[in-house]
């Protein structure tokens, strides 16, 4: 099939101003940069800016500022007033959407069309949605026994990953603020810039000082925040390994936690599925954001009798994907976020080949500089292969087969994770039967990778606990008299 050729359509980076160096955003103002380290554009390895490594004293100051803001202002403010601040933030995010999209693409490496159409608008939508909850919490059905009014915990420590930097910030900050908590947030080491730009949004919105504090740094900063005695609740999105260490570190304390962790989702295609739609869903499921998505459909379970047809149509479709400059509006896949992640993807794929999987990628020329990995399909994968059990977090699809719905369920559930799953079939009763039997927090039927602020997101088993989004997501940020649970929101 001839490939459409597109002229370059680069988005301009002139829309955003990046400082040479950034400090932390504490108590409404930026600190002077100190102990800086560079943040790179993963698409070409150029340095975008220097950011500061927060030590325990910086974390102390941020937590203290959040405590003062909670006790002095935010915790006492009426829900209606809190809500109006959130509406302001949502509006400013919309007004400055282009800036955020460009900055996110530069810092993360994901295509501009994704930051423009997904990350930034959904981030704004999260603030809009939660703004409306702020003065309606007593109607949310969160009370233990009918009469208690939900109360905020106080200071929330939030640690977010690099795959959706601004969107994860919105998932964390919007519900925390709507429920009356104050926040200390640590963005990922490799993607701090949109969080620092968000600090400016807080200033423009006139948000009282200390309600949102942002400290940058690596895992040490995150650990200092999680273990800080002044933090009442922790919200973490990241790896299952770190999630377990957080669960251990708060054991025996009164700290609450919600953990959004890894996944190894099965995307299940039955022989009666509309194959072309399913192929689009498979592609979106694993190649969206270069597969660096915790709920990515990384295991394709295809019914045996349509395996060859599905795989051949999938390969044909992959041949039309455009991999390259993330700032180009026509790019479908961008860069891998970091050298370390690229190495992890590379070594896992090599392990898959060594264990007997067959590796295929479409012909595509990758840029010489930057961190790149081609869209990859591994066929002949069996359940015990590492590429079928471990989260790769990259543009790599492992293909397995099944014969019966029962076998599909058994294979889909044969994982320590339980975040998401996909089902493709035209038969309604089978969709509902499958949805009942899949042990996963989100089931996408005849669609995949859909996100909405009203829709709770979160996992079963070792994918963590708690939900984010929707009415259920509020639960983690409030306390009621009978609440004694670690992962309060379920």
């Amino acid at each position: 099939m001839p490939k459409f050729e597109y002229a370059p359509a680069p988005e301009s980076r002139a829309v955003v101003t990046i400082e040479e160096a950034y400090g932390h955003f504490v108590d409404g103002a930026f600190t002077a940069p100190a102990e800086t380290f560079p943040t790179l554009n993963p698409a070409d390895e150029t340095v975008l800016a220097q950011v500061s490594q927060a030590g325990s004293e910086d974390v102390d100051r941020a937590v203290a500022a959040a405590r003062r803001a909670f006790e002095g202002v935010w915790g006492r403010m009426s829900g209606a007033e809190r809500g109006k601040y959130l509406f302001r933030i949502a509006r400013i995010l919309q007004e400055r959407a282009r800036e955020f999209a460009v900055l996110e693409t530069l810092d993360n490496g994901k295509p501009i069309k994704e930051t423009r159409d997904v990350d930034v608008p959904i981030a704004a939508a999260h603030f809009f949605y939660h703004a409306g909850w702020a003065d309606k919490l007593e109607y949310a059905g969160l009370s233990a026994s009918g009469a208690d009014v939900p109360r905020p915990h106080g200071v929330v420590g939030q640690v977010i990953p690099w795959n959706f930097p601004l969107l994860m910030l919105a998932w964390k900050i919007a519900p925390a603020l709507a429920t009356g908590n104050t926040v200390v947030l640590k963005p990922a080491e490799t993607t701090p810039l949109t969080a620092l730009l968000f600090a400016e949004v807080c200033q423009q919105a006139g948000l009282p000082a200390g309600v949102v504090n942002i400290v940058t740094g690596d895992g040490r900063t995150g650990q200092a925040l999680v273990e800080h005695p002044g933090v009442d609740k922790i919200a973490f999105t990241g790896s299952t390994e770190v999630g377990k260490s957080i669960a251990r570190s708060i054991a025996g304390t009164s700290k609450k936690a919600t953990l959004e962790l890894g996944g190894k989702a099965a995307n299940i295609v039955f022989d009666d599925a509309p194959i072309d739609q399913a192929v689009e869903g498979i592609v979106g499921g694993i190649f969206f954001n270069q597969g660096q998505v915790c709920c990515a459909g990384s295991r394709l379970l295809v019914q045996e009798n349509v395996h060859d047809e599905v795989v051949s149509r999938l390969k044909r479709r992959l041949g039309t994907l455009r991999v390259g400059d993330p700032m180009d509006k026509n790019s479908d896949l961008g860069a891998i976020n970091s050298k370390a992640q690229l190495e992890r993807i590379t070594s896992l794929v090599e392990a898959g080949v060594a264990e007997g999987a067959e590796r295929w990628s479409p012909e595509c020329s990758l840029p010489a500089k930057g961190y790149w990995f081609p869209p990859t399909v591994l066929t002949g994968v069996s359940q015990t292969h590492r590429v079928a059990t471990e989260e790769i977090f990259g543009p790599v699809l492992s293909v397995l087969t099944f014969r019966t719905p029962q076998e599909a369920v058994a294979k889909a559930n044969n994982t320590a994770y339980g975040l998401s799953a996909g089902v493709w079939t035209e038969k309604g009763s089978r969709i509902l039967w499958m949805a009942d039997h899949l042990r996963a927090g989100v089931v996408w039927a005849n669609t995949f990778n859909r996100f909405d602020p009203t829709s709770p997101f979160g996992g079963y088993k070792e994918s963590g606990y708690g939900r984010e989004g929707g009415r259920h997501g509020l639960e983690a940020y409030v306390t009621t008299s009978a609440s004694t649970l670690t992962g309060a929101a379920r």
């Binding site: 939508a125 260490s245 251990r248 949805a435 829709s455 609440s483 670690t486």
Partner: protein, 295 residues
């Protein structure tokens, strides 16, 4: 001529059967005033593991049973409890040192609590679930599902009312349970097992191990096929460090229901208070299902 009464052998309740501990051990159970009551089986690590296997085996059918059916079964438990009221009054009075009248009130409250939870089985999804109005042409619904196998450290002091107050909410939502009874007051738990065995509760849905809490709690908290743990029974349990149990539970990210704390120290909850939704909410997972709308 007086008749010698026939005493009961108090055993474990695992997978619908009443085995002795595989360890062959037993321990003396005495009344509140120190008189010998019975020799109870002293459950071991292996007994706990057997109980987890039974609970996992029972999970598929129990979680898939209709909510209406689970409600009927729980109501049947209340009926059978009522029929054995006198026996429970005697055991609770002896173990907890209560007057017959006070023990009677406790047993009545326990029966009523089971009835309360029986009524929740087919309402909880309506209270905790909802449609989500997503910004697009999709049907989107969130509903609670059972978490899986739940380990329960039953309260040490309240040997019947406390016990049913922690077990009923776990099974009402479709979970299965491995229960470690009160260490010093295990007899009502064993008799409660007999009630369950005769109440249409499928074998393995509730498994009861009488044991020294400190000996077996660690194995339950660390077990990789247990999905959640209720630490209520650490209050007043000898030699139990609940922080260490919660840390063990992190190994497979169990959902942890922490003990009630007063000044940082675990205390037994007030079992006469309105139980609220807390325990029902604690052992469910929210599942959200999306489907496109279109012609």
């Amino acid at each position: 001529m007086s008749r010698l009464d026939v005493r009961k052998t108090y055993k474990l309740y695992i997978g619908g059967a009443f085995p002795r501990s595989e360890s062959g051990r037993s321990y003396e159970v005495v009344s509140a005033s120190g008189e010998f009551l019975a020799n109870a089986s002293m459950g071991s690590r292996k007994d706990v593991r057997d109980a987890v296997v039974a609970a996992r085996g029972a999970f598929g059918k129990w979680s898939a049973a209709t909510a209406y059916n689970r409600g009927q079964v729980l109501y049947r438990v209340a009926e059978v409890l009522e029929g054995r009221r006198a026996q429970f009054v005697e055991e609770v009075a002896a173990g907890e040192g209560l007057s017959a009248r006070a023990a009677g009130a406790t047993v009545d409250a326990a029966i009523d609590r089971v009835v309360w939870y029986a009524g929740w089985t087919d309402k909880i999804a309506q209270v905790l679930g909802n449609l989500n109005p997503v910004a697009g042409p999709f049907f989107n619904v969130s509903a609670p599902e059972p978490t899986g196998v739940v380990g329960v450290l039953a309260p040490q002091a309240s040997s019947l009312l406390g016990l049913v107050s922690v077990v009923a909410p776990v099974i009402a939502t479709g979970n299965t349970a491995v229960v470690v009874s009160s260490a010093d007051r295990p007899l009502p738990a064993v008799t409660f097992g007999e009630v369950l065995a005769t109440s249409d509760v499928p074998g393995g849905v509730v498994n009861i191990v009488t044991a020294r809490t400190a000996e077996v709690a660690t194995w339950l908290a660390a077990h990789r096929d247990v999905n959640a743990i209720d630490l209520t029974g650490v209050a007043g349990a000898e030699g139990v460090d609940w922080a260490a149990l919660e840390a063990e539970a992190a190994g497979n990210l169990k959902r942890v229901h922490r003990p009630t704390l007063r000044d940082g120290v675990p205390v037994e909850p007030d079992w006469d208070a309105d139980p609220g939704l807390g325990r029902l909410r604690a052992f469910v997972e929210t599942k959200t299902v999306w489907h496109p709308k279109g012609l």
